[in-house]
Symmetry: C4
Subunit: 191 residues, 4 copies
Amino acid sequence: MTRTRLEAFSDGVIAILITIMVLELKVPRGTDWQALRPLIPVFLTYVLSFIFLGIYWNNHHHMLHATERINGAILWANLHLLFWLSLVPFATGWMGENHVAPLPTALYGVFLLMAAVAWTILQATIIAHQGPSSKLREAVGGDFKGKISIAAYAAAIPLAFVRPWIAIALYVFVALLWLVPDRRIESKINR
Amino acid sequence: MTRTRLEAFSDGVIAILITIMVLELKVPRGTDWQALRPLIPVFLTYVLSFIFLGIYWNNHHHMLHATERINGAILWANLHLLFWLSLVPFATGWMGENHVAPLPTALYGVFLLMAAVAWTILQATIIAHQGPSSKLREAVGGDFKGKISIAAYAAAIPLAFVRPWIAIALYVFVALLWLVPDRRIESKINR
Amino acid sequence: MTRTRLEAFSDGVIAILITIMVLELKVPRGTDWQALRPLIPVFLTYVLSFIFLGIYWNNHHHMLHATERINGAILWANLHLLFWLSLVPFATGWMGENHVAPLPTALYGVFLLMAAVAWTILQATIIAHQGPSSKLREAVGGDFKGKISIAAYAAAIPLAFVRPWIAIALYVFVALLWLVPDRRIESKINR
Amino acid sequence: MTRTRLEAFSDGVIAILITIMVLELKVPRGTDWQALRPLIPVFLTYVLSFIFLGIYWNNHHHMLHATERINGAILWANLHLLFWLSLVPFATGWMGENHVAPLPTALYGVFLLMAAVAWTILQATIIAHQGPSSKLREAVGGDFKGKISIAAYAAAIPLAFVRPWIAIALYVFVALLWLVPDRRIESKINR
């Protein structure tokens, strides 16, 4: 029961964040192609953030599937993750409206980095609560993808000030890395 | 359990999209009939989009009722559908505020077309996962309504540049076609 | 299962509508009492609409509790109700920001009237689906409160053009009438 | 079943409130550090309000876990709590955008106080409904934390006009007091 409510609340927050980002796509004044053009970078960053939030929702789904019991620490670790995710729409709007300027692009990376760190904390909190025979620990293993993601974000933040497009390329790389749902967990569960 | 969460997340996103569209109905300055008049086209496009999202919610409901198991591909096919639906409020606002100008009307059709394509992909993904004895495949059959809808949207997009009202008529036609819940699936399930 | 999803979707829409109305309470420029004063009528209409949506949520809850099976007609009758409720925040904002001017006050009544009519249709659709031994029909009885509400709204709409405050008084009267949860249904269920 | 729907609705409202607050973080014009600076107080008040709403969600979760049956009075006591919580984003935005001016800081305290009072009423309503062998009453005990919180808010409201930072310090103190989930209830349930 407790897990259900944690899932429902997280689903609610992520669903709202995904749709709130659309509000940054402001209805343009004109009705020709010219009016639509400034929206292209906003649209592209929307696509990127939609994919990131989709990945988090997807993997959150898998992670909690391998979680039987919930305690206060897990609730707060989950809220901490949602906090950083809730800042993604702001960074998305700022980056999109400013044609990928250095500081907004770096800030986008900061929020993604913090969300990835919050994810790692949540994962560790669940594993600690499950004890030595943790199904999730077995599934996560060395957490190769998690470590690479954090390294990529950490590199992207300073690189955004050199060339914003390098940072963007790193974000897209991480998104592609995760786009495949976490088969490690899936395979452990179905076994 | 997994299906429940997929439904809950989709319900959340569709519920938010339906209500976010109301925000396009901006409170007018004056308090007389004159102040209300420019809102009429915005209101009418709101009604149309409300019906479209209602149809998707309704049929999503029926489709998942005929789905027992979920996998990663289905999760992503569903997110892909939600992505195109999430753009409907933007196109609704642009079309409504510009008295059905050609480009906004065509873009509205593009998003409806992409949502219909995403629906077909989601349907095919579920059927593929269910295997040869798919209850959903039997229910969908030749998918007559799905094919007609896609053809109507594809025709409406160029026709919007000739006469926007032809495109609108096609959108209304598709809405009427679907307004009846998918009895094919309903009848198969109740059998 | 089907009923659960109908409830979840309706809960989602009503929860969003209730919170979207708060967005009409726009953060004022100044920081003194003077800055807060124009918000008072907006706040009061927010309270009224919050109570109305709370009543609908509460009674929706009771009504569906007495409903075992759902069909396509019920799904659409429910969406129809949500449609009129979704327009309440717009009318609330318009009425609140214009110090209860006649037309906004009348429009508020129109949306409440349409929502009440949609409620009656939903109730009748459920009863029709339940057949002669309908638990809900027995609980609703002569639907005294429903009929009085519709009559009060119908009277309030023209009276708003005479004296807006008469219309407001009628709205408050209906709210008080319903504030008590529908004990008729509650008592039938618990019997 | 009834409890589930009450939880789902409350989760929905709180999830929306948490994410609606992010909309107050308006995308700045410029792209340098200068553009970001005015957002710092808005961000800090966002963090504070996020924690407050997180605490309410968390404890709401625990409280309802100790609640078996729901009646109309509990539904309305819960809506009353949600009403005051729904005003938190408004006060958060007003306080954050005005660098913690006296009146906005006091109003923030008023809404927190009213929410705390509404919480106490909800708790008492549930206990009254559970009767003499109330599991929740046993868990709550003397409600030490609840009483201290209300006292701190009541002190903070006038003190905000003397020095706003004293009020803020009191709000942070209450947040820290509650940040630990209510172990009293948790321990009673797990016993």
